[in-house]
Amino acid sequence: MKSGRFWAWVVFALGAAYFFIPLIATVEFSMRMRRGAYSFDAYQIVLGDARFQATFMYSVVAALFTIILGVLIVVPAAYWIRLRLPQLRPIVEFITLLPLVIPAIVIVFGYIRMYGSNSPLPFLANDTATNALLVIGYATLSLPYMYRAVDTGLRTIDVRTLTEAAQILGAGWSTIITRVILPNVLIAVLSGAFLTFAIVIGEFTMASLLNRPAFGPYLQNIGANRAYEPAALAIIAFAITWGCMSLIQILSRFAPKSANRPN
């Protein structure tokens, strides 16, 4: 028993070292911009760069629109599949997994061919439409995470009985979704939303090939031309992602209580 615990700690330490040593090395390197002393110069340069602020804000706004689009598509779809079409679940799960299998570059080339200026849906004809196409692409990329998060949330409540209880009390579909279903899967939706946020903030391929001024291409551009700033940017991006994950944990404390989640 004691020997088992010892090896468990060894494996844990090796795993932790595998993740943390590169991270610590990157932090250390990002602080060595000033010769002979540690400093936050690289961070000051990055955060003071107007392009950093512009591209970061662009990606934040794109992420918010992606989350809204994702919630509007995924919540009603996952709800309806649980309620009325459970036989379609395997098919829908397969479809939602496709963005993990098909590389983003293939998807974006497909978009460029399909929605060029000669297309009946000319998404690439102007910047606003291209931004919309980028958001649609991001919603596709985040589909595996958003669908699974919402579906897991729906699994914790008795969707059918709650729906019927609301129906018999006179509620229509919009009331049922907004007042009964959504509040009870809100934490699951938020989990999906923060995962979506993390994906969109660092996404490079789609934004680059659609020529959008997003944070991902900016990261790549800085990485190719500077020494210390890319390391600082990597740490900033990492902090944002971890911030999102922490928010999921904090917000889950405010979830509606239920028999499944009494504490």
Partner: protein, 354 residues
């Protein structure tokens, strides 16, 4: 019966090739409490769900208060329903749960608050308004579900096995409370259960269901004492079934293990030589020949179980075994297995099963 408030007419329900409800007919008077009693899979919940609007009948119609509601959506029927699994909304407080239907109906906040307080008083939980469902016991949750169902003043109350998830003690107290609230509000109610004691104790009438059909509809007294079919007799209460042969159809004479019993014309068209299933409730039988009992059979004590206040005795009569209970008497020792014994009963209590 007065003009029925709920009329279920020739209703049938099929799922693909499987028919779960067949030609179901029932009229329910205003303010009446009717139970659907039957084993799992007999179609009782399906009929209830058709009345609620969650299932559409394959044929037939459902009329409430003179209006055909067969094709109406559940949210257009003004029907209240209590579910087995409580189905309280976990994100809403008790008060918000009770007020849900009122808010959907567009009532003012003051009117909702007043009605919610009234409902909390009726279910005797006035201090629970701000609690969440997870903070309540099962019995309290089901009371809240009942209050939520009746708050919008529905025309009809449907109870889908509301006591099944509760422990025995709470079940008894809550069923009495449900009945008392139903009487107070005079609301027409359908109650689905597989528990015969529940159905017998609180219903005005019971529809005993089997294989998608109503085998018998009657008062608890009729269902228990005059079961119309073998299934009803077996399903409701404990029953001793004896095989008998008609020896003289005209005078109602039947032979059980070569012993003759006269049933006084209850043979319902059977001919001499026919084999019949005869049934006796344990409480109708006495050990030994008793005054007032006009029929008797002789047999042998097969089993004796001393249960304290009661002694359960099984008497073998040829190939039949009859079970009966006698009260413990400190001056009389219990019967001994293998002893010869007579049992007696009133021939009027013997039922002929079909």
């Amino acid at each position: 019966m007065a003009e029925p408030f709920l009329s279920i007419q020739h209703v049938r329900k099929s799922f693909g090739a499987t028919t779960v409800v067949e030609d179901f007919n029932l009229d329910v008077a205003p303010g009446e409490f009717v139970s659907f009693l039957g084993p799992s899979g007999c179609g009782k919940t399906t009929v209830l769900r058709m009345v609620a609007g969650f299932e559409e009948p394959s044929a037939g119609k459902i009329v409430v208060g003179g209006k055909d509601i067969t094709r109406l959506k559940p949210n257009q029927r003004n029907v209240g329903m209590v579910f087995q699994a409580y189905a309280l909304f976990p994100n809403l407080t008790v008060a918000q749960n009770i007020g849900f239907g009122l808010k959907v109906a567009g009532m003012s906040k003051a009117a909702i608050d007043s009605r919610v307080a009234e409902m909390l008083d009726i279910i005797k939980l006035p201090q629970m308004a701000d609690r969440y469902p997870y903070q309540l016991s099962g019995g309290q949750q089901q009371r809240i579900a009942l209050a939520r169902a009746i708050a919008p003043k529905p025309k009809l109350l449907l109870l889908d096995e509301p006591l099944s998830a509760l422990d025995a003690k709470v079940r008894v107290s809550l069923r009495e409370e449900i009945r008392s609230i139903q009487k107070k509000l005079d609301i027409t109610t359908i109650f689905v259960t597989h528990d015969q004691e529940e159905a017998l104790s609180i219903s005005d009438r019971i529809a005993v269901m089997y294989g998608g059909k109503a085998e018998q509809v009657g008062t608890p007294f009729e269902i228990y004492n005059r079961p119309a079919t073998k299934f009803v007799a077996n399903f409701v209460g404990t029953l001793n079934v004896l095989e008998g042969k008609v020896t003289d159809a005209a005078s109602g004479k039947v032979q059980v293990n070569s012993q003759e019993v006269s049933l006084k014309g209850k043979l319902n068209g059977s001919k001499s030589g026919d084999t019949l299933s005869l049934a006796l409730r344990p409480e109708a039988i006495s050990l030994g020949r008793q005054p007032g009992h006009d029929a008797s059979l002789s047999g042998e004590i097969a089993e004796v179980h001393f249960l304290g206040s009661v002694i359960r005795v099984r008497v073998g009569i040829g190939g039949n075994t009859v079970s009966l209970d006698t009260f413990n008497n400190s001056t009389t020792p219990p019967p001994v297995v293998g002893d010869k014994a007579d049992i007696s009963f009133s021939s009027g209590d013997m039922l002929v099963l079909h």
